[in-house]
């Protein structure tokens, strides 16, 4: 069970989790024994320690959504997870704002944790997103990810 959504505006991660819980309860009739969540927010400063005005997230409309869904389905299948939630920001994201939320429900803690972790790495390296750091009116494309 996949719930994938790109968010063009600021979103409240706990609200997203609450909606997901309601949906899971309605679909499954019971609440899963284990959930692992990851929440990422924009840092106040960028790669070169300059204070960030915003982080811009470009994506490939169509391909990005499909790609996330297929990465999520693959990770869920590999780990036997029951349900996966992904919310990912696009557009201009302010420091402190949520940029990515991944949640995995499973019957045991191991699969939930491993699936969540693996899917996050997959999103970082395989889903078509490009980050640009805006600082003092200058935008700089990021060519990699922060170290794990």
């Amino acid at each position: 069970m996949l719930a994938i959504q790109l968010e063009a505006e600021s979103f409240e991660p706990l609200q997203a989790l609450a909606e997901w819980h309601q949906w899971l309860a309605a679909e499954l009739g019971l609440r899963p024994a284990a959930e692992s969540h990851f929440l990422g927010r924009v840092r106040p400063s960028g790669a070169h320690d300059a204070l960030l005005t915003a982080l811009e997230l470009e994506h490939y409309p169509g391909m990005t959504e499909t790609c996330i869904a297929s990465l999520a389905a693959a990770a869920a299948g590999r780990h036997g997870a029951t349900a996966v939630l992904v919310r990912h920001r696009i557009g201009l994201v302010l420091p402190g704002d949520a940029i990515v939320l991944v949640a995995v429900a499973a019957d045991r803690r191991g699969p939930a944790q491993r699936c969540c972790q693996e899917l996050l790495e997959a999103l970082k390296h395989e889903a078509p997103f490009w980050k640009r750091e805006w600082s003092q009116g200058v935008g700089r494309w990021i060519t990699g990810n922060t170290p794990l």
Binding site: Y60, M63, I99, H125, A127, P128, W130, I142, T143, N145
Partner: protein, 94 residues
């Protein structure tokens, strides 16, 4: 479908992020050059289009990836008429 590309058929080429900014365009319809067709009977490749469009550097950098019809593809895949080809600079999501 093993349809060979009509050399005159356009392919929609899309660029993103730093590649888009470096060239100044985000999409264009590209007519497949006859030379490209000649080099690969099964249809021209993303690598050939990269050169045909004069994208820089002439040899595609290792971090740049290719998508055909919104699926990751190889640099030597065969393009057919109506394909959407995208060049994707290094990904940084999550």
């Amino acid at each position: 479908m093993a349809v060979s590309a009509d050399p005159a058929s356009p392919v929609q080429v899309r660029l993103f992020a730093s590649l888009r900014e470096a060239t100044g365009w985000s999409e264009q319809l590209v007519e497949l050059a006859a030379t490209a067709k000649g080099a690969n009977p099964a249809g021209p490749t993303p690598e050939q289009l990269w050169r045909q469009l004069g994208l820089q550097p002439a040899t595609p950098p290792a971090g740049v990836r290719v998508a055909i019809n919104q699926q990751f593809a190889a640099w030597d895949a065969s393009l057919v008429a109506g394909d959407e080809l995208a060049f994707l600079p290094p990904i940084s999501g999550g």
